[in-house]
Amino acid sequence: MQSLNTYRAGPDERGHFGIFGGRYVAETLMPLILEVEKAYGAAKADPAFQAEFRSLLAQYVGRPNPLYFARRLTEAFGGAKVFLKREDLNHTGAHKINNCIGQILLARRMGKQRIIAETGAGQHGVATATVCALFGMRCVIYMGATDIERQMPNVYRMKLLGAEVKPVTSGAATLKDAMNDALRDWVSNVTDTYYLIGTVAGPHPYPAMVRDFQSVIGEEVRDQIMAQEGRLPDSLVACIGGGSNAMGLFHPFLDDKSVRIIGVEAAGHGLDKLHAASLTGGKPGVLHGNRTYLLQDADGQIAEAHSISAGLDYPGIGPEHSWLHETGRVEYVSVTDDEAVVAFQQCTRLEGIIPALESSHAIAHAAKLTPGLPKDHLMVVNLSGRGDKDVSTIAKALGDEHLGGLV
């Protein structure tokens, strides 16, 4: 495949990354989308906006978070030096808050009063409810009924923070269905409402905007690894639901040809069974405002995804990832539910860090990749969030006896 001079120039002015991306929304929403695009363009160029964003990331989120050398995981995996980017240490426990800070500032600039969002694992919902509390805005979160059940602690957190959590029962009652209902809400409340999308998907400008806000992850990693190791990393690994934690880590390194970049999708029960690996098992299609790889049948009907991890349980992926996949700049692989559960336990027992089930997919792939690599290979794994929210899912997966009859 021919390599490009830069992989960081997209999207074009119409929001396209190659054939991917775009603005496939109902006409009712088009004027709003154009307004968001214009407002974000102005905010991006405004030093005062950037300063407020940076200041909240430092004072409120707690950035920069560490790039932690995971000595015992490194020993256990037996190859490359494994570093964990500690997004789990952010306020609210995941990378999602980075984007929420950026977008809430934008919503305020636009004079919006009411915030809506979709959530899968509940991390984006919690982060949205948090920034709404901080700025005194009304907050409505759409969450699939299946996800409400498996991420109950986050549902309570959102309610405590003052958000209204609306259960969604259509389809498989997971992230895709929550996004449908959030879009229905937005079409019905166009004047006062801002849709705070939680990943690098949706219509333009969301994929680019969320990427920009999340890029703080990769920018910090670059500074930190230079300070700690004196050189760039050799590889980056991150899990992918919609792809925001991955894009945030990857984007600042896309033009560093020496850096191998790997995105990890959820293989669920296995690629020949129910899974959520859109790039591996899907084909290009149009959903939720953009063209991207989607799990679908020959008729163009969207397939139900499956992952043990609610945050990865989505039949699509952000459009820029689809483009990076087709250009070959980023490798995309997948990890099953069972492999993720093993990695979850390894990280917990060896490092004393309970990772989110989403992030456990990235760790599982690091475990597969490192044995063949030289000892001085520097691998950065994005620990996108903490796993407190997942303990009941893990208890169910492992069974009673593993926890000494505690459940």
Binding site: R23, Y24, R184, S188, V286, G300, I302
Partner: protein, 269 residues
């Protein structure tokens, strides 16, 4: 002249508006849906919109979302939708049929091939809810080449700056979505509709049909006084849903169509 243009010319001569009816293809099964479709013209539908079922109908309320779910569960597909139009054309050569739905099934079929196959089946127009003018280039030229009208949606959020952009692709007629919202929920105030229709007419000479939130014959009549057509969907689909598995599955929705048609036909008298 296209079937749509012919139909509006005829209605103009009769000094009345069109009743445009919507059902989802294949809901609740192929046979019932075909019988409903075939019975529409006699019941008084002047133009028929046939919904292409899709798993994720983001602009629809529960009534039409459930209809799409029933159709898909019973084996509905884009292929079946075209087959239904082909069968309908054996009974009716004049009533315009518009397919309405979301882009992904059409994209999966292939836009160029779909335009040809739809024309072959006897489709006259296409409404794609999630294909705004910004992305429409990838479909509209193929529709035009195949002689299919691209029916655009204008909404309460389409202001005077936006309208020309939306109308640039329009042919056949213009569909005014009278509320900012999803199908089958709220209804707009008549005064707001009057104002919007007048505004759209300042930008285009195409017929203007109004839909979303029209449930009863009296409401359809109100619309028919100012617009060139009144579109009714959820109300018809609701009656169908209430009668699934009963003897009225075809007759009850058609009875509503008859009442609506009487309302529309009496509007300007």
């Amino acid at each position: 002249m296209s079937r749509i243009a012919k139909r509006f010319a005829k209605l103009k001569a009769e000094n009345r508006a069109a009743l445009v009816t919507f059902i989802t293809a294949g809901d609740p099964d192929r046979a019932t849906s075909q019988a409903l479709l075939d019975g529409m013209p006699a019941a008084g539908a002047d133009i028929i919109e046939l919904g292409m079922p899709f798993t994720d109908p983001m602009a629809d309320g529960p009534v039409i979302e459930l209809a799409a779910g029933r159709a898909l569960k019973a084996g509905g597909s884009l292929r079946q939708t075209l087959e239904m139009v082909t069968a309908f054309r054996k009974t009716d050569a004049e009533t315009p049929v518009i397919l309405m739905g979301y882009y992904n099934p059409v994209y999966a079929w292939g836009p160029e091939k779909f335009a040809k196959d739809a024309a072959q089946a006897g489709v006259d127009g296409l409404i794609i809810v999630d294909l705004p003018p910004e992305e429409a280039d990838e479909l509209v030229p193929f529709l035009r080449a195949a002689g299919i009208d691209f029916i655009v949606l204008t909404t309460p959020t389409s202001d005077d700056a936006r309208l020309p952009v939306v109308l640039a692709n329009a042919s056949g007629f213009v569909y005014y979505v009278s509320i900012a919202g999803i199908t089958g929920t709220a209804s707009a105030a008549q005064a707001a509709i009057d104002e919007a229709v007048a505004r759209i007419r300042r930008h285009t000479g195409l017929p203007v049909c109004v839909g979303f939130g029209i449930k009863a014959p009296a409401q359809a009549a109100e619309i028919a006084r100012v617009a060139d057509g009144a579109v009714v969907g959820s109300a018809i689909v609701s009656v169908l849903a209430d009668n699934i598995g009963k003897s009225g599955a075809v007759s009850a929705p058609l009875a509503l169509v008859k009442d609506l048609a009487a309302g529309v036909r009496g509007a300007r008298k």
